[in-house]
Symmetry: C2
Subunit: 243 residues, 2 copies
């Protein structure tokens, strides 16, 4: 893990940009660390620069509640090399949504499954590096989308103790089977009127998830309209399970 | 409003049993009132004595958060006179559930609609009496079931400023239309594995409710298995809207 830039935000939070191999990432920690804190991994749709304003708001909110927060750029997003297959699938998805047509399950598979295959080992490698820092103690929570990445991480990565899954992206068919193997406490967040999402698919995935403790929070509004009080709910959820 | 008994609970909360005409009810207020507080009406399935343990726990939790709480016995429950029609419908409902058969919409109508017609004017009369007390200031929230009673109160009673609706009872067809006219902020609580409930019907009702701000909290578990953290969430919901 190579720190490429560090600065203090106006609320004192220490923001470090880093690279792990050729994958860029960002780490946010308390400005004046005392004891090691648990870590929340912030999922996002890809494109760190574009999502930065929302991401840094989530990170500040997490740090204010006593956590560290970190994220990685996704494969094929930002400055990372594109995959022709994924770009083709993304174009097919956008075409179907723009035409108001149903999205082929095969298109969702082509778009999401390779992303999960490539991203999850990168996030696990980031965990190795982040948890080696003295100011981060664990346990670890995952918070956000891509939901298929969150499901895979929750299944394969024993350091993930709880997950907030944002049901704002399409779900490959294979992920419904995988979801049954999730056992950590879950908070699933669904925007009821998400333009690009399939509400029934999200509810079916919530039903499929295997965890004994799982909660769904659904709110009116579109993809980016998550109410601010859900940030507080997220912190309380992680406080229950990461402390 | 005639107070028939008053006592302080061990945490200091003042519990007053009362009758309003021939309808029994209970009021819980802070032991040492300072300023008038908002009021939360506690809905329940009927039978005050049987539900008292859960009800008093909810009431204590509300009072600890700075509210008064009150409830009324439902028509046909506790010591109140039975209706032969409602008893017949209840027997039909239980028979269908025990046999694992679908419940006729007509049975739900016969059971719930007369209950709503009779109960809602009683709760409104209770509001007149309760809001006349110096220690209660308003505004008012409704919290709990019967969900059709909560929907009707939210539509017809302008003093209701927010409602937490427990989706744990069957919904007459006419209530889906009525739900579109609800405009107050809503938190809908659904037990995902509720034995006697229809999950899809509850989700359809959530979708039908007209409020611009509405949130669904769904949790694993049966009818009485609402997690304790939902009590805190309820208090925060009412704090946002009744203060």
């Amino acid at each position: 893990m190579h720190v490429t830039a560090a600065r203090h935000l106006d609320d004192g939070v220490l923001e470090r940009s880093f690279t792990l191999g050729d994958v860029p990432g960002v780490l946010w920690t308390p400005g004046s660390p005392t004891a090691p804190v648990p870590l929340v991994l912030l999922g996002h749709p890809g494109g760190l620069q574009a999502v930065y304003p929302r991401l840094v708001a989530r990170a500040r909110h997490s740090v204010a509640a006593g956590f560290a927060a970190a994220t990685l750029e996704l494969p094929g997003s930002g400055d990372r090399p594109r995959s022709a297959d994924a770009e083709g699938a993304r174009a097919d998805l956008r075409r179907a949504l723009a035409a108001g047509e149903p999205v082929d399950a095969e298109v969702v598979d082509r778009l999401v499954l390779p992303l999960v295959e490539q991203a999850v080992p990168e996030w696990r490698a980031a965990l190795d590096a982040l948890l080696a820092l003295p100011e981060i103690g664990g346990p670890v929570g995952y918070s956000g989308g891509v939901i298929a990445i969150g499901v895979r991480l929750a299944v394969v990565e024993p350091r993930i103790a709880a997950a907030l899954l944002f049901a704002g992206s399409r779900v490959p068919r294979a992920v419904f089977e995988e979801a049954r193997r999730v056992t950590v406490p879950l908070l699933v967040l669904l925007q009821w009127d998400d333009e690009g999402n399939d509400r029934q698919e999200a509810l079916d995935l919530f039903d499929a998830l295997g965890s004994a403790e799982k909660t769904l929070h659904a709110n009116t509004g579109g993809h980016t309209g998550v109410p601010s009080f859900e940030g507080d709910d997220a912190n309380r959820f992680f406080a229950r399970h990461l402390r």
